[in-house]
Symmetry: C2
Subunit: 464 residues, 2 copies
């Protein structure tokens, strides 16, 4: 491309603003528009989220619950928010699971003639180890019905290989992820029920590459616990191909993962007291823990630094929120949601009144808008503000799922809101060794933080 | 993120469809919706654009006008479209400039004490060489006014260093690019008018990194031609810093670039004859040439493979266009627009009737919509189709600039349309060594091709 000329967009779209019953005056509309511009300017000119993310991901690194890195991330979040001069920064104690991957993680396919092929694998989070090498034949299935239809002797003593791909025709990749995720979550239980010795699961991604994707899985206390590992999509395709030629091949899996006793950890909370309604709380958050394979950049380092940045943007833009605003770094979203549950429990016990909770946990990509989880009338109220976001490309204000950490607040708040951004690349790197700082674009991250701060500004001014 | 549940979107949004005077019936609306779904499914399940791009960028590589690679790209495009079984594939001869970078491209800063610092530089496209080492002092300016205000003796015999950054507060990066681009285009002329010996230009990007960005520049035949080079943004910041401490430092530049005699080249055209109105033509295109520093992936390999794919999608989905559809690979957008001009000239000479022309030349990122360059009533007609694109996230149907290659068709067509996609990352890699295949996401590319094919389908069915 050589030269692009586009139109200034600052006040575009405002002509379409539909006035509500509680009509906002033209003057306040204009001041809202200018205040949003202040927030975005501050984010794009003096943003701190990118350098914060560099530290959180690069210096601290992957932050699985119970790990020393998770503890470092707690201390770092606390210090970082304290430096912003918020009204209050504090920790909420919470016990979290402590699963460790261990050093060994290895797999090999032995063909009929004993020829070995290394496979890149990773244990699913929460899996038991293999206690040395676990060798068995493999049976491939693409659906629960296929597994159910197999005679017992085809499953017993084998690995069940769950190889249903994510559906590439869904436009929102999260939908394809949600649909295919049952294999990862329940594969070990259903395989064990039929006497299998292990579960092998195709990675949850639409990319064709060599990264195995970890993620949480579960056991049923009434069913024996068998090891569960993810194969990369290329690896899964290769295994499927090899099985066609050599149905009797042997798969050797070795994993040293284990679950240790629970550990004390924390949510980290930073707060700006509301100037007019200090007892009404707006939460904005991400989760501080991440999987251990990489740096947890898009999942969910970006959500954390954006939430901290949202508070900084309000302060730096001189916009004192009328309601109390809290940035919450939730602990243990990935394998327990203990932090999200603890926050809601403490808020209830303290009789706190929450107006809304916003979560950013879909990556730090270019903003598209917000998913609003609330009664229809409340969704409509939030949608009224959409025209103010048009100059910034955040146009999708839709009813939809919000976020895992704020979900426990459902009965204690008027609206749960998920930050919605471009999701085409998210599952390429999600829960893999490739979820690193260099995958995050500075501007995309900053625009996201600004859109969250802008929504908080409006929520704190107008309520719901 | 753990699990996302989103709503099915196939028919969402259709409730908002505003019926025009020439109201389309509910039945045809439904069939349009289903046909778009066919196109998107074909793109996401059986897409060929990504593998085509791999060949064009990886095997052929950078394709500057007049280079052997540009010639290979012409032959490859022709063969690739012939394999699709189109009704007609042909070449349009066009003479193009032939500028070559040459082997040497080197710069060094010598401080007051003779200490040398290497700078990464690249010649701007079209620049003359330095004929050995060009050594001179440097004067930095951030605006034309600053240059005008300098006394002659502060400029004569020196390099003028144009160091105005792109404005990060514009939300659309193309706007910031357009505004800062005058330094690159006119810097050498304005510096030479004041007696300078060379122009150094800050790279046109919002990123802070070490890549110099090339791009076209011009000379005025009445003003002496001086060499012009780009510095990376980090390099420009460093030079600016050094100049503060040592205003008398010497800059040494060595570039072996030169302009050779013009070369014969081609536009490549593939055509599906319209079933009902064969004499009305819809063009979809990108430019086949690219800068030489890298593979020309996002600029504009993606536009080319998306245009070819658009025709393939129509055929594979069994949608015979009622009007004639042409995929055009334009030659020489980057440094001459000879291909775009030639296409328009030949169309005019042949008395062809063009309905619309679509260009993809803003990268292969996630689609946002289309920029429509047409009279207001025509813009409105195109905007009527927006609801059909909502399930696919292509929602921005705005009046705006279309594309450089189709611009010459302005007076011969009812609408010029620019494919609009997320542009936050585009200028990070634009015209640099980093514009490579691995920067392109398969799904983002495929969604773009599908959105172009969908618009062509509607244009070919309803006209304008």
């Amino acid at each position: 491309m050589r030269v692009l000329f586009r139109r200034g967009l600052l006040l575009a779209g405002l002509g379409f603003f539909t006035l509500s019953a509680q009509a906002q005056t033209a003057a306040s509309l204009k001041s809202d528009s200018l205040n949003l511009r202040k927030i975005y300017n501050e984010a794009l000119l003096n943003g701190q989220s990118y350098e914060n993310l560099r530290y959180l991901t690069g210096t601290i690194g992957g932050r699985l619950s119970g790990s020393p890195q998770a503890e470092q991330a707690v201390q770092w979040s606390k210090t970082t928010m304290e430096k912003l001069g918020l009204d209050r920064v504090y920790l909420q104690e919470v016990m979290v699971p402590h699963w460790v991957r261990g050093a060994k993680e290895k797999a090999e396919i032995k063909g009929d003639k004993g020829k070995g092929i290394d496979m890149s694998v990773c244990a699913l989070g929460g899996s038991v180890g293999t206690n040395g090498k676990l060798k068995a034949q493999v049976v491939e299935v693409k659906s629960w019905a296929e597994l159910a239809a197999l005679p017992d002797d085809k499953v017993r003593g084998k690995f069940v290989f769950f190889n249903r791909p994510m559906n590439p025709t869904y436009i929102e990749t999260g939908q394809a992820y949600g649909e295919a995720g049952d294999q990862r979550r329940n594969g070990a239980i259903e395989a064990a029920k039929r006497g299998a010795v292990g579960a092998l699961v195709r990675s949850l991604t639409l990319a064709h590459d060599d990264f195995p994707h970890t993620g949480t899985m579960r056991y049923d206390e009434k069913v024996s616990k068998i090891p569960a590992a993810a194969l990369s999509t290329n690896g899964a395709d290769q295994l499927s191909q090899l099985l066609k030629a050599s149905p009797g091949l042997t798969f050797e899996l070795e994993m040293a993962c284990e679950t240790l006793p629970e550990v004390k950890s924390y949510n980290v909370v930073g707060e700006i007291k509301g100037s007019k309604y200090p007892n009404e709380v707006i939460v904005v958050g991400g989760h501080l823990d991440s999987w251990d394979l990489a740096q947890g950049a898009h999942d969910d380092g970006t959500g954390c630094v954006q939430s901290i940045e949202a508070l900084r943007l309000l302060k730096a833009s001189g916009l004192k929120p009328e309601r109390t605003v809290r940035a919450v770094m939730f602990m243990n979203e990935e394998n327990g949601v203990r932090g999200g549950n603890k926050y809601a429990e403490l808020a209830k016990a303290a009789g706190e009144k929450h107006l809304a909770a916003i979560e950013s946990d879909g990556g730090g990509f270019t903003p598209r808008g917000f998913n609003i989880e609330a009664p229809a009338a409340t969704v409509k109220k939030v949608q009224q503000w959409q025209p103010l976001f048009r100059p910034y490309g955040s146009t999708e204000f839709k009813a939809g799922h919000s976020g895992t950490d704020i979900e426990p607040l459902k009965d204690q708040t008027k609206a749960l809101i998920g930050y919605d951004c471009d999701d085409q690349r998210y599952f390429d790197i999600h829960h893999t060794a490739a979820d690193t700082f260099d995958k995050v674009n500075r501007r995309e991250l900053e625009l996201g933080g600004a859109s969250m701060a802008s929504l908080i500004y409006l929520l704190s001014k107008y309520g719901l």
